[in-house]
Each structure stands twice: as structure tokens, then as C-alpha cells.
Amino acid sequence: MRSGAAARPDPAEAAAVPQPRPREGWRVQRRVIGALILRELHIRFGRRNLGYLWLFAEPLLLGLAVSAMHALGARGAGPRSAISVFAFFAVGYSLYYMFRAVVGRAANGLAGNRPLLYHRIVTPLDLLYARHLLEAAACVMVVALVSFGVTVVQGLAPDDPIKMLAAVALMAWLCHGLALLVAAGVERWEMVERLTHPLIYLQLPISGAFFLVDWLPGPMQELALYNPTVHVFELLRDGQFGQRIRTTYDIGYVAACAAALQFLGLCAMHAVRPHIQVD
């Protein structure tokens, strides 16, 4: 809200803190987001370096446990395909973890960081960007580790790592938009927080994390493909297993959904911005 003419500095200002002028906005924002990421790492995992391992050890352990349970439960029946049950679920769950982490924590994403909004250059959006980037980076690591594990244990090298990376990126984009909507919604109506938990649970079976569209009866396939995350998991598995399974996905559809969610999320954040209580 600075007028152009009035903002010209006099010489004495040279040594002072640079004001975030529009041209510098992006540089300042990058600095702020970088500082936020470091800070979040410190808070969540402590300063000792081993603590950082938890960032991917936690989803990895959870993913392996869920996968192992599925593998045991599905012995005999199992997915009707050439790939092992274990590998199938481990790869799926590693990506679902990001959905849980980003969307599930979106409801209290601003709450814990409110004191930081005392600094004008830290915006609510910066807080969310930092968290989402961190979770996406962790997810890339986890997917890479699981994929590496599948390669070593089962001798199945990923068919196309680029597709797997694209799946993580698309998932991050979808989660980002949804998390913006949730974070903005919570500022307006507290009950939005209560709604996110059922959303996470309901999404689990229908997300595509644990099935292939190919296994579903015809009409169900069409229905499942309305859910954008189903496409993402199909893409991820195409990247890992390639021709061994039959996958169906439409990247354009996912991108359109993600862009729409992000647009709505940004609008919602903009709308609630004046109502965000700083403390």
C-alpha cells in the first residue's frame, strides 16, 4: 500500500532494512519461506541432525506397517497381477502420506504460527507454502526410498522415475489447493476442522492408494476416475511397474482439478485475510 512517488528513499535510508518493494517481493518471499522451512525443521525434529531423519522415517515406517498388514491380509487373494502385494501398497501409501500430512494438518496450520504474523513480511500464505514445500520434499525422499527398496528386494527397477516424480508433483499441487481451502475455511467456520478428519478417512479407500482402476468393474471405473487422486496413483504405479500392470490416467484432468482448487484456495485465503486473528 505504498505510493510510488512517496516511496523513493532519501540517501540516509540506504543502510536501513530494505522495504519489500514490488520488484523485490519475490526475493523477500523466498527468503521468508526459506527461513520458515528451517524453523519448522527445528521445531519438529530438534536441532540434532539425527532428528531430521524423522521427516521421512515416520512416513516410511507407517507406510511399511500398513503395507505389511495388507500383504498379510491379502495372502492368496491379492491383486491379480504379476507384482507383489507388498510393493504395490508400499508405493501407494508413501504418496498417500503427503495427502494426510498436508491436508490433515491444514486446519491448524496457521494456529501454531500466529505469532510470526507479527512480522509484516511474513504472510499466512508464506506459512502454508513453507509447510507444503517441506512435505513435498519429504514425500519425494520417501517415494524414492520405497522405490529403491522395491528395486533391491524384488529386483523391479522403476520403469519411469520421471512419471513417479510427476505423480508426487501433481499430488503436492492437489494437496496445496485443498489445504489452502481448509486453512481459509477454518478461519471462517471452526467446524471445518472437524470435517477434515472424516475427509482424510473417507479419502483413504477411494483415493486410489490401495487399488488399481483395472481391478474395478466397468461402471465403477468411470466413477473412480472422477477422483483426481486416483489418476495420480495410477501415474505413480505406471512409473514404478510400467507394462506389468494396466493403468489409466489423464494428467490434464488432474492439472485442471489442481489449478481449480488452487484458484479457489487463493481466493478463499484472500477473503479471510482481514479476519485472521494474529493472537
Binding site: R2, A6, A7, A16, V17, R39, N113, P115, Y118, P274
Partner: protein, 217 residues
């Protein structure tokens, strides 16, 4: 060049409908080298005004023009994360304002005199220690304009004197806006005074006149 507020209004929705208007058209012009005391009774809207100047909150209408860098409102709360140590908070603040981390930390270490408390969680600090850390790190970042919200009180006399000396050193290039309900604080720090009452701000060029008026409120 400095800071300008033009017809700034702020209202909050009242529970059960209607709005509560805290600021009803505040106008102000504050330049470098000025130390302005803003006097007001409890609930007059002093903190709200300071938060709007800082950019923490947006005015409902009106314009805030900032042609100098402005600190966050230095007070008891906000700006620091309780779970992190004082030092980690300082590192974070140095990073977001683009200051060298190590040097900022050294400046804070010598100015705040928190000793080993600097490596302990901010949540364990007394209010006096919080004020010391806030002043030290904001001086280390080096703003053009400092916003102080009643926070001088909890710091002990020695530190208050230290802050005044540090501020006097930069008084020609910096501005200070201090909100308080204490006339003595204004006399100790300020060159100009204004009274916030009924949602509007009235400036007095003469300190004695301002304080006399304030005492009649």
C-alpha cells in the same frame, strides 16, 4: 519522508451483530528523528493503532503509507515462538529480514545480556527478559521506525536506560512511536505527544500541554 496515516478507520464485528468502531479516522505524519508518544486510556485502541501501523492488521478503510522500514510492535506477546530457544528465534528473525545470522546473534548476546537463557526456550522467559530480547533483536535488525507497546515497563531500570541510550544514538535517523497510558514514560522518551481518545488522534507539539490534557481525561 516517513510514515503517513490518512483517515484510518478500524472496526470489528461485535458478538451478536453490529460493529465496534475502534478507530474513527486517524490522521498522522511521522518523520525520522521524531519520538512520538501516543497516550490513551485502556481500551482506547492504542494497540490496534500500533498493529495497523506495523501492518499486522489492515485498516477497515483509509491508507497507511510507509516510506521507512518499520519494526513489528515491540511488546509482551507475538513475534516469538515459545517452543524455540531465544537464539533460534533471533536466527529466524535475522533470516527473514535478510540480516547476517551470526552477527545479529552476537549483537543480541551483548545487548540483551540474557546469558545462558539465550539457549533456553522463549516460553521460559520472564516478561522482562522477553522485552529485552525483543528490543535487542529489533535494534540488531536496525529499523527506521520502532513501535513500542507499553513494553518498557517490565524491563528493569538498567535495561530501560540502555535502550534509551541506544535509541538516542540513532535518534536522528530513526523514529519512535510509543503507546502507553503512562505520562512519565512519554516524558522520558518522547519529543511529541498525541492523545488517542474516542477513536481519533490529536497531536500536541508541546509535551506539557499534551500531558495536562491527558490528565483531564
Amino acid at each position: 519522508m516517513g510514515l503517513e496515516l490518512v483517515n484510518v478507520r478500524k472496526s470489528y464485528p461485535r458478538r451478536g451483530g453490529g460493529v465496534h468502531e475502534v478507530l474513527r479516522g486517524v490522521n498522522a505524519r511521522i518523520r525520522r528523528g521524531e519520538a512520538v508518544g501516543i497516550l490513551g486510556r485502556n481500551g482506547a485502541g492504542k494497540s490496534t493503532l500500533l498493529r495497523i501501523v506495523a501492518g499486522v492488521e489492515r485498516p477497515s478503510s483509509g491508507v497507511v503509507r510507509r516510506a521507512m522500514s518499520i519494526s513489528w510492535p515491540l511488546g509482551f506477546g507475538g513475534a516469538f515462538q515459545g517452543a524455540l530457544t531465544g537464539a533460534d528465534n533471533v536466527r529466524f528473525i535475522a533470516r527473514i529480514y535478510g540480516r547476517p545470522v551470526q552477527r545479529t546473534l552476537e549483537v543480541v548476546e551483548s545487548f540483551a545480556e540474557l546469558g545462558e537463557y539465550l539457549r533456553m526456550p522463549f516460553a521460559s522467559y520472564s516478561s522482562g527478559m522477553r522485552a529485552r530480547l525483543a528490543f535487542a533483536v529489533s535494534l540488531a535488525v536496525d529499523f527506521d521506525c520502532y513501535l513500542v507497546d507499553e513494553a518498557i515497563a517490565p524491563a528493569d531500570a538498567r535495561f530501560a536506560e540502555k535502550f534509551r541510550a541506544a535509541f538516542a544514538e540513532r535518534a536522528r535517523r530513526s523514529a519512535l512511536i510509543l503507546v502507553t497510558h503512562s505520562a512519565a514514560t512519554v516524558r522520558a522518551y518522547c519529543t511529541r505527544a498525541a492523545i488517542l481518545d474516542g477513536g481519533t488522534l490529536t497531536f500536541y507539539e508541546d509535551l506539557d500541554e499534551a500531558l495536562a490534557t491527558y490528565n483531564l481525561l
